[in-house]
Structure formats: structure tokens, C-alpha cells
Amino acid sequence: MSRQSNRTTDSKKMNAELFTLTYGALVTQLCKDYENDEEVNKQLDKMGYNIGVRLIEDFLARSSVGRCQDFRETADVIAKVAFKMYLGITPSVTNWSPAGDEFSLILESNPLVDFVELPDNHSSLVYSNLLCGVLRGALEMVQMAVEVKFSQDTLRGDNVTEIRMKFIKRMEENLPAGDE
């Protein structure tokens, strides 16, 4: 995906329904293909990662956000720009750790889970785990190693959906054709 890509498809939006249903079809298929929820969670994370490494390019091309100075700025960009751009929602950034290396994204709504309920036999399925992979993959491409996981999930009975993100380390820049 070159940076000179055609910008006419830039901010094309679509109704969330097809997106929600498509994601649901994916999770359903994974549940059929894999024995247990843990495997499905792993697979969702892996697929999310693959998406994330491509999404970051699209994001950088379409937003005029420069390099973030610190993790706080990263958090804000993720919540206010990226989530808004791709999923049409703006989670809030809260629960910063004292060291400033961990924060939470609180999602009040999530297009992936509209009209979704988890049946009892899939109680350890992290339905939206794709998102964790996406965040991890995207940030890795900008030299940030992070750990992302759902700490609360409305599908599993919690009041809110909370994604916890933890900064691990800054990575060595080893891109073949770096922009710097």
C-alpha cells in the first residue's frame, strides 16, 4: 500500500450493520473451526495483529497526526482520532497508572458487538479480541511494544467494556525503507 494511494476513498463511511454482521460471521466461523474459546481468542488476536500492521499505514496517510511524543499523546490519538475514524466511536482514556505506562480505554458502545450475546457455552470467549490485536499490531509498526487486553466486557456481564493498554518498550527501528 503506497502512500500515494488514491485519496478519493479516504473518508468513505458505511453503515455499521454490515460490518457488525461480517464480524459476527467471522467469530462464528472461528468458533466452528477451533475447539475452544482460548484458541478462538488467540486467532482473533492474530488476525487483529495482521490488520493492525496494515491499518497504521492507512491511518498515518489519512490523518495528519505526527509522531507522538509520549504514551499519553498516543492514548489520546488512539481514542480521539483512530477509533473515531475507523469505528465511529470515541472511547474515553482513564485509569492511568502512576508510572504513566498503563491506561484504560472505556468503550460505551462498540459496533462489533451490536445485538450480540454470548451463549453460556462460550463464556470465556473475548468476542472483540480482534481489537487488541489491531492495537498491538498498529503500535508495533510505530516502534511501540504494548500489551493490550480486555479487562471488562459487557458481553461477559460487566457494566462497561474496558481495554487495558500497557506500554512495554520502545522498539528498535528496523524498517527496510524507513521514513526518517
Partner: protein, 144 residues
């Protein structure tokens, strides 16, 4: 497998069933969908050995989507009445379904036969092949 899993229904506290089915206001970006779809295609590709198997898998995925979409669209736009006549179904697909999927109606409604295959000829054409029983029934309904 429907997204609204009915197992909780009997407990009588399924909040989801109370929710309105009007068109969601949230909009997602086309690239989010494109990236998701691409990953799904790659996933299917990794589990099959032939193109026809790949197409079959993708079609399976689509079937679930179509079934849910049909329910929602019929409820919203046709007051719960599904079309049973061939031409009306085609019009429904051309107008409502296409609009729900792609934001606009399909360009042309061409001829008719209930196996859907994709052909590339001056753009993408989806051919729907109805089987004999449907045509016969349709003719009977028309009183011809």
C-alpha cells in the same frame, strides 16, 4: 448461527430483545470493513486447497450475514412482509439489500435464473440462477 443467541431468552432478562432495530447511526469507515474482509479472505484461503473451496467458504460466511440482514431489512422496510415472487425479490435485492450493503441501489436488474455466481464482464455481475421449481411456482401464481 444467529447473532442473537437465544439461550438467555428463557431467563427473561435479555435486554437485547428490547432494543430498537432502526438503522444504526454509527458509521464505520470503509477501510475498516475492507481490512476486516481482506483478513477473512486470507483466513479462508489458509484453510482450503482450491479456489472453489475458497469461494464456498466465503459464501458460507456470507450466508449468515444475508440471513440476518434479510430479517432486519424486511422488518424495517417492508413491515415484516417478505417477498415471495421472483421479480419482487429481485427488486428487493436491487433496491433494499444493495442499499444496505453498499449505500446505493444496484445499477441494473438483468435476467434471472437461485444459484448466485460472480462473473467479471464489464464490471462485476452477480448472476442469480433460480431453479425450475421457483419459475414454475411463479408462473402458477401469476395465473399464466
Amino acid at each position: 448461527m444467529y447473532q442473537k443467541m437465544e439461550t438467555r431468552f428463557t431467563r427473561g432478562k435479555s435486554a437485547i430483545l428490547e432494543r430498537s432495530l432502526t438503522r444504526p447511526k454509527t458509521e464505520v469507515s470503509v477501510s475498516a470493513f475492507a481490512l476486516l474482509f481482506s483478513e477473512m479472505v486470507q483466513y479462508c484461503q489458509s484453510r482450503v486447497y482450491s479456489v472453489s473451496e475458497l469461494q464456498a467458504r466465503l459464501a458460507d460466511l456470507g450466508q449468515g450475514v444475508g440471513a440476518s440482514l434479510l430479517d432486519v431489512l424486511v422488518l424495517r422496510e417492508k413491515n415484516g412482509k417478505r417477498e415471495t415472487k421472483v421479480l419482487n425479490i429481485l427488486l428487493f435485492i436491487k433496491v433494499s439489500v444493495w442499499r444496505a450493503l453498499f449505500g446505493k441501489e444496484a445499477d441494473k436488474l438483468d435476467g434471472f435464473p437461485a444459484k448466485v455466481t460472480v462473473h467479471w464482464h464489464k464490471g462485476t455481475t452477480l448472476m442469480i440462477k433460480f431453479d425450475e421449481a421457483v419459475i414454475a411456482r411463479d408462473k402458477a401464481l401469476e395465473g399464466r
